[in-house]
């Protein structure tokens, strides 16, 4: 498959506007500005584009809510707070293909009637910040951003906003709070950001990868775009594979490529000839799958039928030597640390789950700990403001579902059954 999102990134100067222009860059912006905003939304609808941040919500539907709101100004925010453990798919776009994102944002801003855009970039990507700021400056100089884009009297301004190390700011309402200069705690919904977002105005928050699809949607049209991928989940998808594989990395493949194919055909299979044990298919916030459940199409609709989720497409591969208690304990340390503290089930529950897993990991597990883990996870699940609590609970539930014996052995033997000592 020709690459669309990762096009030209082997070129060491791919982030330069001159290189981007050589490969047809910004032609799609010019083409889009000749269309009516509602026609762009219509093409995006035909394309079947879904948000790439994890939820998979249809992009055109989200847009149409904000576009229909009579309040102005409207804001377009790019979610570049890539923080889901295992996820590094947006980083090559930000560091090597920044003009694709800028062009995508300029097109989207025009479609929505938004004149101001912000890229909320995670604090841990200092290099990407410099690349983006340079690229934005170049785009202003060439009149692809500014008060009078391409002489069409269309305005779009873009600013990079640097986060400061809070995973929860990847959640769109927490992101907006942070953009407003506050603690990144999720808001209660409704109202939704499409009507009451940043500074209480209609706001669209889209992932980096989502917005980077826009130039191609305009280039080929919604219909042709929708032919890529699976029926209701279309387009190219970036899968980032890490862990115990021969060739970790970011792979651009059609949406719906099977998890098994990604691991074995693209990422080179399991490292050092070992056996596959388990996979997080879309980051640690998506339920873990054991080796025999990896024959599933990686898209937003199929994955829940196979007991997990597509998430960010962050495939974390674990071989037979990896201890599941250790992984679960580390994951829960993460969720506890990143819980914003706003709602009780998440704040208290992640701390409690971590404590139980910590004692099991350290050989001090008690009889009944597995049941206790289940109960605490049950109480968290579905009772939190945002999906962070569900993610922590879902991880524990899936660990118990598939690796109960291993946890039991850990408790019974008061040590890790995987350790070689």
């Amino acid at each position: 498959m020709e690459t669309i999102l990762l096009k030209n990134i082997e070129n060491p100067n791919s982030a330069e506007i001159s290189e981007y222009l050589k490969t047809g860059g910004y032609r799609n912006l010019s083409k889009a500005l000749a269309l009516k905003p509602k026609d762009i939304i219509e093409e995006t609808k035909k394309a079947g584009l879904r948000g790439r941040g994890g939820a998979g919500f249809p992009t055109a539907m989200k847009w149409s809510f904000a576009a229909a709101d009579p309040k102005f100004p409207k804001y377009l925010v790019c979610n570049a707070d890539e923080g889901e453990p295992g996820t590094f798919k947006d980083r090559p776009l930000l560091e090597k293909n920044p003009h694709l994102l800028i062009e995508g944002m300029a097109i989207s801003g025009y479609a929505l009637g938004a004149e101001y855009g912000y890229i909320y970039l995670r604090g841990e990507y200092p290099f990407a910040k410099d690349v983006l700021n340079k690229a934005i400056k170049q785009a202003y100089e060439k009149n692809y951003l500014g008060d009078n884009i391409l002489g069409k009297n269309i305005k779009f301004h873009l600013t990079v906003y640097q986060g400061a190390g809070a995973y929860i700011c990847g959640e769109e309402t927490a992101l907006i709070e942070s953009l407003e200069g506050r603690r990144g705690q999720p808001r209660s919904k409704p109202p939704f950001p499409v009507n009451f977002g940043a500074w209480n105005m209609p706001t669209i928050v889209n992932n980096v990868e989502t917005l980077s699809n826009l130039p191609y949607v305009i280039q080929v049209g919604g219909e042709a775009y929708s032919k890529i991928g699976s029926k209701d989940c279309t387009g190219p998808k970036l899968f980032c594979v890490s862990g115990c594989v021969e060739k970790p990395g970011v792979y651009e493949l059609p949406m719906g490529t099977s998890l098994k194919e990604i691991i074995y055909n693209h990422a080179g299979g399991i490292k050092n000839g070992k056996k596959l044990k388990a996979v997080f298919p879309g980051g640690i916030s998506t339920p873990i799958l054991p080796a025999d459940k990896t024959d599933c199409p990686m898209d937003f609709i199929s994955m829940p039928r196979h007991g997990s989720m597509l998430g960010s497409g962050a495939v974390i591969v674990m071989d037979e030597s990896v201890c599941m208690v250790k992984v679960a304990y580390r994951a829960l340390k993460f969720f506890e640390h990143e819980s914003c503290g706003k709602c009780t089930p998440c704040r208290e529950g992640t701390d409690w789950l971590r404590k139980i897993l910590e004692r099991i990991e350290h050989g001090k597990g008690r009889e009944g700990d597995i049941e206790l883990l289940s109960q605490v996870a049950d109480v968290i699940y579905g009772r939190t403001f945002c999906p962070l609590g569900d993610s922590a609970a879902g991880l524990v539930m899936s660990m118990i579902k598939y690796f109960k014996n291993e946890i039991e052995e850990h408790i019974k033997n008061a040590k890790c059954v995987m350790s070689k000592e």
Partner: protein, 154 residues
């Protein structure tokens, strides 16, 4: 506390947002860059520059793990131990750093050369284990190459 250049830099940021409070995170970054960490005085100066209550500044600053509330060493090692790095041996690297430099996570070496922070995912999972030293990414770390890399930071 802030000189004219910094105040000008903060003023330039303010105009990019409909509400001045949005300039708070950028201003905190500027203060941290200038002084190395966010002292009470630095946060008070940010509050004054943005005309915000000091409590609002402290409340926001304390939420984010990248804002430092005590002096840091000359170089900041931010090493990831999240799942992708963990399964490829990040814990051993942390143990090595502790032993080699006599520093605990969250602490600073006696000579002030390094501060060590355990990071959540830094988006270098395909080249794990990985760390950021100041603003530089270092990936595919091993027990062998990590000391050589850190040797460059004085």
């Amino acid at each position: 506390m802030f000189n004219e250049t910094i105040l000008k830099e903060i003023d330039d940021i303010k105009v990019r947002y409909p509400d001045v409070r949005s300039a708070l995170l950028p201003a905190l970054y500027i203060a941290q860059k200038e002084y190395g960490w966010l002292s009470s005085e630095a946060m008070a100066a940010v509050a004054k520059a943005l005309d915000l209550p000091e409590a609002a500044v402290r409340g926001t600053a304390s939420f984010y793990s990248m804002f430092r509330h005590r002096p840091a060493g000359r170089n900041l090692i931010q090493i990831c131990t999240n799942v992708s790095c963990l399964i490829l041996g990040a814990e051993k690297l942390v143990d090595l750093l502790k032993a080699r430099y006599g520093v605990e996570p969250g602490g600073t070496t006696q000579d002030g050369r390094f501060s060590l922070v355990i990071m959540e995912c830094i988006g270098a999972c395909g080249t794990a284990p990985a760390m950021l030293v100041n603003t530089d990414f270092h990936e595919n770390l091993t027990e062998k190459n990590i000391e050589e890399i850190l040797g460059k930071y004085k």
